[in-house]
Amino acid sequence: MFETLILILDATLRVSTPLILAALAGLFSERSGIVDIGLEGKMLGGAFAAAAAAAVFGSAWIGLAFAILASVGLALIHGFACITHRGDHIVSGVAINTIVAGLTVTLGLDWFSQGGQTPALTGDARFTSIVFPFAEQIADVPVIGLIYSELLSGHNILVYMAFVFVPATYWIVFKTRFGLRLRAVGENPHAVDTAGISVALVRYRAVIICGILCGIAGAYLSTAHNAGFLKDMSAGKGYMALAALIFGKWRPVPVLFACLLFGFLDAVAVRLQGVALPGIGEVPVQAIEVLPYVLTVLLLAGFIGKAVGPKAIGKPYVKERA
């Protein structure tokens, strides 16, 4: 029982990682007032770039670099539309998601002729597990051994990065000059502007950070959790990350827990499938599959009620009406 729990938690960490990265990405963007429904597309673009570069150069790190570049590029398009040209944030996000969905496959097909997929990655082209020192040796120590060797040890570097990013995000957002300006610009851009700070610059920086994190999330999908890019491989994770961000009320630690919850549900669902539950019987696959979505709706409706985001979110900053 305990072992099963550890294994489920272990899976939870793996599954949550891209959600955490993407949700933190969204946190930076949305704290600055830029709604980002394009997390999905940036992740997908990052995943493609990572896998493509890793396949060509044989290095996961180069893959990661390209993922970040690609994702930041997309983030800048979003910024260009929303910050510079006061476009609708959601429309811009939808556009980016659509473009990336088509472009990754088109380019993939042109470059690798494998139906839009990248070649399967092996060896250094993938991020592999890091085994903690003595993980083997103490694996048999009761409780602690299992926690240490199974749950904590044996993930790839990006997983650990994701978890380090949470306190880092907290520190940046609440304890630094940039964080102060970031929060201010999402609440009242006029105040920031009159304080002599460029609203656009702060927002662009936020959007770039968002791009970096989405890029890492994408790289995780294609070069760490999996071994190559597949069409539409982000599979709605960007939307789930967005939901987690709203649950977590735009705060790093609660957002982390929201992501872990979704990851946990996913991990449990995998293990619940085909298992007859006492009193219920075997639950249809579809019912389990749909659980995170239903839960999101229920939680949004009941638990947290009205999620009040940054006040200026989604509103273009207009100084002069033409």
Binding site: A11, R14, G115, H225, N226
Partner: protein, 310 residues
């Protein structure tokens, strides 16, 4: 004779690592052997399936091979309007004078790899990861289960479906999680009948040092060393044969069922997995294969009655 052959893939596209890709391999070989170009088409929605079939027929392409069960209704409509054109549909059955229906006995092939899985399992627990939860995939699972139980009657077969939409054939992440969950429940051999999802399953097996079984085309090369075998479904051969027959004037409408005896399904043994297969195992596999062919072993077909009672 000179023929103008064409193929219409289904919406998964020709590089699905599954039967579309098998067909693609078949026609590539055909083109290489005969120098005859095959017109390919990849529709992206229901309407385009019919549209493309119609357009190919209008332009006089024949025979036209339609890949996948999804195309049945479109083929049947178009075939009615173009009685002079020959249509071959793979994985679907249509009773029309100018349509050839090619289906496979996937349960037999799955039975075979089930036998091999059982022989390789130290825990007497094996796994099955299906793609989309549809009868066809259950057919794989059911055949596999029978094969496993044939060797080890009290073995446990953990079965999971990846999902319920077409995306389930393209979700390696989920595949890898499902495989890992099966490993954690004690499985040490996993058979994936899940298209692109399988990639994740094979990866997970590799990462955890367990064994995996591929599907449709020979996938042994994907993770050498931990790919026990692949259940091959020779759609390549089916497509090749349709064109070859047409070229020779031997193409015939009607139902063509390709099982073990016809070489339509099989298990794969090659350089990549020969290190895993002992001589004993190989002998046993040959024996089982022979028994299935001569009818001593009857493998229940899930789709005959939508149950797995054997």
């Amino acid at each position: 004779a000179d023929i103008k052959p064409a193929v219409v893939y289904d919406q998964a596209g020709k590089f699905d690592k599954s039967f579309n890709e098998g067909v693609y391999n078949g026609i590539t070989r055909f083109t290489k052997d005969t120098g005859i170009q095959v017109r390919e088409s990849e529709p992206k929605n229901e309407a385009q399936v019919e549209q493309n079939l119609r357009r190919l027929a209008q332009r006089g392409y024949t025979p036209i091979v339609a890949v996948g069960f999804n195309m049945a209704s479109a083929v049947s409509k178009v075939a009615k309007d173009f009685p002079d054109i020959q249509f071959s549909i793979i994985d679907g059955v249509i009773d029309q004078p100018n349509v050839q229906s090619i289906v496979f006995k996937e349960h037999q092939g799955s039975f075979l790899v089930g036998v091999l899985a059982a022989m390789n399992s130290k825990t007497d627990t094996v796994g099955f990861v299906g793609g989309m939860d549809i009868p066809l995939i259950r057919k794989f699972g059911c055949g596999y289960e029978q094969g496993v139980k044939y060797v080890t009657p009290n073995a446990t077969v953990i079965q999971n479906m990846t999902g319920s939409t077409g995306a389930a054939f393209n979700d390696p992440t989920k595949g890898s999680e499902l495989a890992k969950s099966q490993f954690s429940k004690g499985a040490d051999v996993v058979f994936a009948a899940a298209g692109g999802t399988g990639i994740g399953v094979y990866q997970a097996a590799k990462d955890e040092g367990k064994l995996a079984i591929g599907v449709d085309s020979n996938q042994n090369h994907i993770q050498p060393g931990t790919m026990l075998t692949s259940m091959v479904k020779r759609v390549d051969r089916a497509a090749y044969k349709a064109f070859e027959d047409a070229q020779a004037g031997d193409w015939e409408p009607g139902l063509e069922v390709l099982g073990l005896s016809e070489g339509g399904v099989d298990w794969a043994l090659d350089d990549y997995n020969k290190g895993l297969i002992t001589a004993d195992m190989k002998a046993k596999m040959e024996a089982v294969k022979a028994s299935i062919v001569n009818g001593d072993i009857k493998v229940h077909d899930y789709m005959s009655d939508s149950t797995c009672n054997y």
